[in-house]
């Protein structure tokens, strides 16, 4: 993808992030992730119903990469089954680690394919999927899963 297009998509999602608001209702699982070495800090809110991600939101203060990646991820995961979400996480890790990965699973998040070339920014791009991983763990531990 052309780097200008990538950049524009990041800026657009940073300046006008999708579903950026706190959801403190019981039906949402909240998972926080932050970078120990910098100041990015986000909360991801997912609502899981009938084995699917029924809805998702996020909030927090973070850099352009973290906010835009979280915004795009939230858009992407709504409607996924839990298995699809797990596959998505795996592929995303493969991508930022420069391993073989299935491009068809990542949609717009492909724009972060080069991010690990800047090691200091890789962790920014990983925050949203780490939050999603946490949410799924909470769900599996018998957290909230509306039937």
């Amino acid at each position: 993808m052309d780097s200008n297009i990538k950049r524009e998509l990041m800026i657009e999602n940073f300046e006008n992030p999708f579903h950026k608001e706190s959801k403190n209702g019981k039906e949402f699982i909240k998972a926080n992730t932050y970078n120990a070495s910098c100041i990015d800090n986000i909360d991801l809110y997912v609502r899981i119903k009938d084995g699917k991600i029924y809805d998702a939101y996020f909030d927090g203060e973070a850099c352009a990469i973290t906010i835009s990646a979280t915004s795009l991820m939230v858009k992407k995961i709504i409607g996924m089954t839990l298995q699809e979400a797990r596959n998505f996480i795996t592929e995303y890790y493969h991508m930022v680690n420069f391993e073989n990965y299935d491009k068809t699973k990542l949609g717009n998040l492909l724009i972060y394919e080069d991010i690990a070339k800047q090691p200091s920014r890789k962790k920014c791009a990983l925050l949203p999927v780490q939050a999603l991983e946490k949410s799924l763990e909470i769900c599996e531990e018998g957290g909230k899963n509306d039937k």
Partner: protein
């Protein structure tokens, strides 16, 4: 000034994070290297020449520190690992015994974590009450605001002389007079003030003072705890072990050394202490007032020039130190710092270990510039040029 003494002062690098730590002049580095290459030995063990040399250097550092902060006696100077350890010693050794349940301690929301968390822990442990002195609209502490929250239960006021985010200089002398009239102890976090302005613990009648060598051209891992002798005499040691005892028997009979050695258990950071001596001697060879004058001139210039950049907000214009915090409109502090890093300009983004100030400041994260003697007007000019070009920030960082 004096850039030639600092190997880290290279043309391509603009270091504006002196509040975090400072560069070391070659005089300090040489002192440390000399210890490691010419007279390595432990101290207070001295049966041979090089150990006696170490003893002399180590103990004479106490005198150099004493003079530097104008303490009464060299016995009031204790070497620690840094401001954090000094404050922990004051709070967990002295205050834990001095305070009683219900006693009140006054701090502010602008204090560094190391002057907050030990107090919070002591509050949980023994039921003291930690209260916040309200800040003015400029985030300052005034004597009136101190008075407003003082009650007959107030036993300690614990404040940074200069805060690490706002950079305001607190009216410590006035607060000290008020505190002592009311039987209140005054504990001062000097991490950001001792390196940058004349410290005089007698003039200000400070009961406890903590500061770090690495923020004043010295090595990392060394700090100082100053306390009035009468308090040290009754303070229990924070650590126990070798070097601090006179005897201990299988009958459990034991005896500890006098102040200050009682507080320096185990092998100390000898190289660091000697480096600190060289750092203070270096600062004194220039004159701390001269350093402060230079910083204030740089600060005024920096503020004036930042005003030329239309999308910059400065949050602490009223402060009187080398600390300036700002943000670019709509840009996250970390992104700004990343952008500046691209031009080899080092600033700190974040909340600077002062996580409660956001309540007052209204923003959680800022970029902090903190100046020191080797910074120049030309560096500020370069910074301003880069900030003026920040319209293309995302082309650079994304």
């Amino acid at each position: 000034m004096n850039r030639e003494d600092f190997l880290m002062c290279k043309d391509a690098l603009i270091y504006l994070d002196n509040g975090a730590t400072t560069f070391k002049p070659k005089q300090v580095i040489n002192k440390v290297v000399d210890y490691y290459t010419k007279y390595t030995a432990n101290c207070h063990r001295g049966d041979y020449d090089i150990s006696q040399k170490v003893d002399f250097e180590y103990e004479s550092t106490r005198e150099v520190v004493r003079k530097f902060i104008n303490a009464d006696s060299r016995e009031e100077i204790i070497f620690t690992s840094g401001t954090t350890e000094s404050l922990n010693m004051i709070i967990f050794s002295f205050m834990r015994h001095y305070l009683k349940k219900g006693d009140e301690v006054l701090i502010t929301k602008a204090e560094h974590a190391s002057n907050v968390l030990p107090w919070f822990e002591l509050e949980k442990e023994m039921g003291i009450v930690v209260k916040f002195i309200p800040l003015t609209r400029d985030y300052k502490v005034t004597l009136d605001n101190v008075k407003a929250v003082t009650t007959n239960k107030t036993k300690v006021i614990s404040l940074a002389y200069i805060t690490n985010v706002i950079g305001d200089v607190r009216p410590i002398k006035e607060i000290s007079e008020f505190a002592h009239q009311n039987n209140i102890l005054l504990c001062v976090d000097g991490a950001q003030s001792v390196p940058h302005m004349k410290t005089d613990v007698l003039r200000d009648d400070i009961d406890f003072l903590a500061f770090s060598a690495h923020k004043m051209l010295g090595p990392t891992g060394v700090g100082i705890l100053y306390a009035k002798k009468k308090f040290l005499e009754v303070m229990p040691p924070f650590k126990y072990g070798g070097g601090m005892n006179i005897k201990f028997e299988s009958t459990k009979e034991l005896e500890y050394k006098e102040v200050p050695l009682r507080f320096e258990a185990g092998t100390q950071n000898i190289a660091g202490v000697l480096g600190l001596k060289a750092a203070i001697e270096y600062i004194e060879s220039i004159g701390i007032e001269k350093i402060r004058e230079h910083e204030i001139k740089l600060r005024e210039y920096l503020i004036k020039r930042l005003k030329e950049v239309s999308n910059v907000t400065v949050y602490n214009e009223a402060s009187e130190s080398g600390i300036v915090i700002f943000n670019l409109d709509k840009i996250f502090a970390e992104d700004t710092a990343n952008y500046l890093n691209h031009y080899h300009i080092c600033v700190r983004a974040g909340n600077h270990c002062t996580k409660m100030i956001k309540d007052d400041l209204g923003v959680k994260n800022t970029c902090r510039i903190s100046l020191y003697l080797y910074n120049t007007f030309e560096e500020i000019d370069k910074l301003i040029d880069v900030l003026k070009n920040s319209k293309n920030i995302y082309d650079i960082i994304l």
